[in-house]
Symmetry: C3
C-alpha cells in the first residue's frame, strides 16, 4: 500500500489536493473509494463521470473529464503508469496460514499440492500432481485429472471435469509499452470463475482477468489446447472445439459453437446460438442464431461458400 504522494514520485506524475492512501488499483467502472484507476482513451472516458475511485491516472488533455471529488493524477502515459504500479499492488503469491475445508469424501492422490484457504466440495477427486493455489475453491463431484494447475483465487463449480495438464488462472498477456520499446507487465489481480458442469480439455489454458473474472458459464464444454484470454465471458452451454483461441475480453452468448482452430480478436461479442466454422476468425461482433465462416471478413456460412465457389469460377474463366 502506498500514499498517492509516494505513487506520483514513482511514476513521474502530479496531482493537486490532499494526500490519500491508495488501497488498490481497479477499473474505471468498478473502482471504489480508496482505489486508483486509469483512463487512457476517449473510449473509456465515458466511465469517468460515474467513477467512484479516489484518484484517476489521466493525460493532461483529458483533465477536464475528471469529475469533482476524484483526484486527477496527470501523467504522460496512464496505461504505463498503471502497469508499473500493478507490481506493487499485485496479490501476494502466497497467503499466510489459513484453514482449508476438505471433506473426507474428497480423494487426494499423491503429489497433490493444496494451498492455504482452499475449499473443496464433497466427492471431488484430485489426481496426482494437481496444484491448487491459495484460496482456490473447487465444487463437489469434480474430477481434476493429473497435473491440472489452478492458480490462486480461482473458483470451480460442481460436476466439472478438468483434463490433464490444463492451466486455469495464469496471468493474461497484458503489457504497457515504454518509449524505448520495453514491455511492462500488468500484474493480474482478477481470477477465473468456472461454473457447474463445465469440461475443460487437456493442455487448455484460461487466463485470469486483470481486475475482474474470466468467466466460463455453466454447461460449457471446452476441448483440448484451447486458449481463453483474460476477461473473456463464455456463455452457458457453449462448445469450444480444439485449438480455438479467444483473445482478451471476448464475450460469447449461450450455446455458441466455436469450430476447431477458430479465433477471435479482442473485445468482440458473439451472440446466443451463433456457430463459427472451423478456422473462422471473428474480428467484429456477430449476431446470434446464425452460422459464420471465413476471416477477411468473417461472413455467414452460405455467403462464404458461395464466395469461394465464385472465386474458383472467376479464375477458371480468366
Amino acid at each position: 500500500m502506498m500514499k498517492l504522494s509516494q505513487i506520483v514520485n514513482k511514476i513521474d506524475a502530479k496531482f493537486i489536493g490532499d494526500d490519500v492512501e491508495i488501497l488498490a488499483l481497479n477499473s474505471l467502472q468498478n473502482a471504489k473509494l480508496g482505489e486508483l484507476s486509469y483512463c487512457d482513451s476517449q473510449k473509456n472516458a465515458k466511465f469517468l463521470s460515474q467513477c467512484g475511485a479516489s484518484a484517476v491516472l489521466i493525460k493532461h488533455d483529458m483533465l477536464d473529464l475528471v469529475p469533482s471529488g476524484v483526484i486527477a493524477v496527470v501523467c504522460d502515459n496512464p496505461h504505463l503508469a498503471f502497469a508499473i504500479l500493478s507490481k506493487d499492488y499485485a496479490k501476494e503469491l502466497f497467503v499466510s496460514q489459513k484453514a482449508q475445508k476438505i471433506p473426507i469424501s474428497v480423494e487426494v492422490m499423491p503429489n497433490v499440492y493444496i494451498g492455504q484457504g482452499v475449499e473443496i466440495g464433497e466427492d471431488t477427486i484430485l489426481m496426482s500432481g494437481v496444484f491448487l493455489g491459495d484460496n482456490v475453491k473447487v465444487g463437489a463431484n469434480c474430477i481434476l485429472h493429473p497435473n491440472v494447475v489452478i492458480y490462486n483465487d480461482c473458483i470451480i463449480g460442481d460436476n466439472c471435469h478438468l483434463n490433464a495438464n490444463c492451466v486455469i488462472g495464469s496471468d493474461g498477456f497484458g503489457f504497457a509499452h515504454t518509449k524505448s520499446g520495453e514491455h511492462v507487465k500488468i500484474y493480474h489481480n482478477g481470477n477465473v470463475v468456472i461454473e457447474d458442469d463445465v469440461e475443460i480439455g487437456a493442455c487448455t489454458t484460461i487466463d485470469r482477468g486483470v481486475f475482474e473474472s474470466t468467466i466460463i458459464k455453466r454447461g460449457t464444454k471446452i476441448d483440448n489446447l484451447v486458449q481463453i484470454g483474460h476477461n473473456c465471458d463464455i456463455g452457458e452451454n457453449s462448445l469450444l472445439v480444439s485449438q480455438t483461441g479467444l483473445a482478451g475480453s471476448t464475450t460469447l452468448g449461450r450455446n455458441v459453437v466455436m469450430g476447431g482452430q477458430s479465433g477471435s480478436a479482442g473485445h468482440v461479442n458473439i451472440g446466443d446460438f451463433a456457430q463459427v466454422a472451423a478456422r473462422g476468425g471473428v474480428s467484429k461482433d456477430l449476431k446470434g442464431g446464425k452460422k459464420y465462416a471465413g476471416a477477411y471478413p468473417i461472413m455467414e456460412l452460405d455467403a462464404f461458400f458461395k464466395l469461394q465457389a465464385k472465386i474458383l469460377r472467376l479464375v477458371k474463366k480468366s
Copy 2:
C-alpha cells in the same frame, strides 16, 4: 450393470420382449451378445443387419431395420440416450489392487505415479511427475519425459519418446445434446494404442476412442502441441508437424505428412504418402501420393499456388 427394464425407465424408452442384463455399451459394428448399441442415422443403419448386440436404441421410424433376434429399444433420441447411459457404464476411474510388472532395469524418478496393473518393459525411463493410470502398458526402451500423463488402459510400444507434459488418453470431445441445449457427456471406454518407435511432442494431446482405440502406428513422429481426436487412426511413419489438429475418426495412411497448423474435419481419410502443406484444412478424403494445400476447398499444391497467383493477377487487372 443394469437390466434393460431399468435402462428404459432411465431414458424414457420402450421395448418388447424378454428382459436382459446389459453388460456393456458398444458400437453397432462390434457389439456382442449382452451388449446394447444405438443407431441414430441412416448412415449407420447399414451395420444393423449384421449387428450382434442384444438390444439397440433406435428411433421409431427405423424400427423395421432391426433384425430379428435383436431387441429394438425405441426412443426419441438414441444418441442422447446412449450418452446418458455411458455414465453408468463408464469404466471405474480406479481399479482394485492388481499386480504391477516393473523390471528392475526401469528407472523411476521421484514423484512418479504408477497405477494398479501397470506393466513396463525393460530399460524404460519414467521421469519426474509422470502419471501412469491403471492398466497402462509401456514397452521397453521408452523415455517418458517429466509430467507426461497416460490415462488408464492406454498402451505404448517399445522405443517411444514422449515429451514433457503430453497427455495420452483423455476423453474425446463427444457430447449428445438435449432439446434445451445442454450437452450430455459421452464417457469414453476406449483407449489409445501407440505402437513402436513413435515420438510424441511436448504438450501434445491424444484422446481415447469411444469404444475402440485411437491408434498411432509404428514409426510415426508427432510434434509439439498437436491435437489428435478420438478414434483417429494414424498410419505408420507419418509426420505431424506442430499445432496440427485432427478431428475425431480421421484416418491417415502410411507416411502421410501434415504440415504445421494443418487440420482435418472428422471422418476423413488421407491416403498413403499424401502431404498436406502448412495450414491445409482437409474436409474431404484425399488420395495418396500427392501434395495438397488450402482449405476452401483443399486442392493439389500446384493448383493452389496457381490459383493464388491468378487471384492476384485478376485483382491487379480490375
Copy 3:
C-alpha cells in the same frame, strides 16, 4: 566416443587417411578439431572452405569441395548418416553427481525435482511440480509456476516468469529419412537460452537447438500455447501472441510482434519492429518496420485489406 574407422562401418561410408578419434558432432560452421560434421547440399557447401572439423560426411559428387586437412567421409546420404550417429553422440540424459548452487533465498515448494549441477539465483521461486534437468541455470527473481519443465543444460536469465506447464528444451522435430520411409531421430545436443525479463505462457513449448542454442532475447514476452522450433533466434522485446508457431531456425529482430495463431516456415528472417497480423503466415523474409498480413503470399497489411476488398467487389460484379 568412436574412431572414424568404427563410424564408417556403422554408416556404410568410406574415407582415405589416418584414423582419428571423433569427440563430437557439430555444424559445418562451428565444428572444431576432433569433431565430425556433414554437408548434404550446395546451400551449405559455402561453409566447407572454412570448416575446422576433422572430418566431414559428404556425397561423392561434392568431394572436390572438401578442403585439404579435412577428411572426406563419403556416403550416399550424409544427413541420414549424421542422424544415425547422433544417437551415439547424444548427451547423457543424466549426469553423474555434481554440486548444485541454490541460495537459501530460493523458495522450493514440494514435489520439485532439481537435477545435478543446477544453479539458481537469489529469490527465485520454484512452485510445486517444477522439473529442472541436470545443469540447468535459472537466474534471480524468477517465478517458475507449477509443473514447468526445463530440460537439461537450458539457461534462464533473471526476472523471468514461466507460466504453468510450459516446456523448455525438448528435442526439436528433426529426422532424417531412409529409402524405405522410416524417420531416424536427430538427437539434439544444443539447448535453450532465455535472457532476462522474459515471460513464457502456460503450455508453451520451446525446442532446443540441434548443436547450438534456441535463443529468446531479453524483454520478450510469449503468450500461452506458442510453439518455438529448434534453433529459432527471437530478438529482444518481441511479443508472440497465443498459438503462434515458429518453425525451426526462424529469426526475429527486436520488437517484432507476431499476432495470434500466426506462423512461420523454417529459416525465415523477420526484421526489427515488423508486425505480423493474427493468422499471418510468413514463408519468406520480411523487412522490418512494417505491418504484414495474409499467407499466400504474406503482404503488407494495407495491401492485404485492399486485396480482400477487391476480391469481394470482383465477385459481386461477376
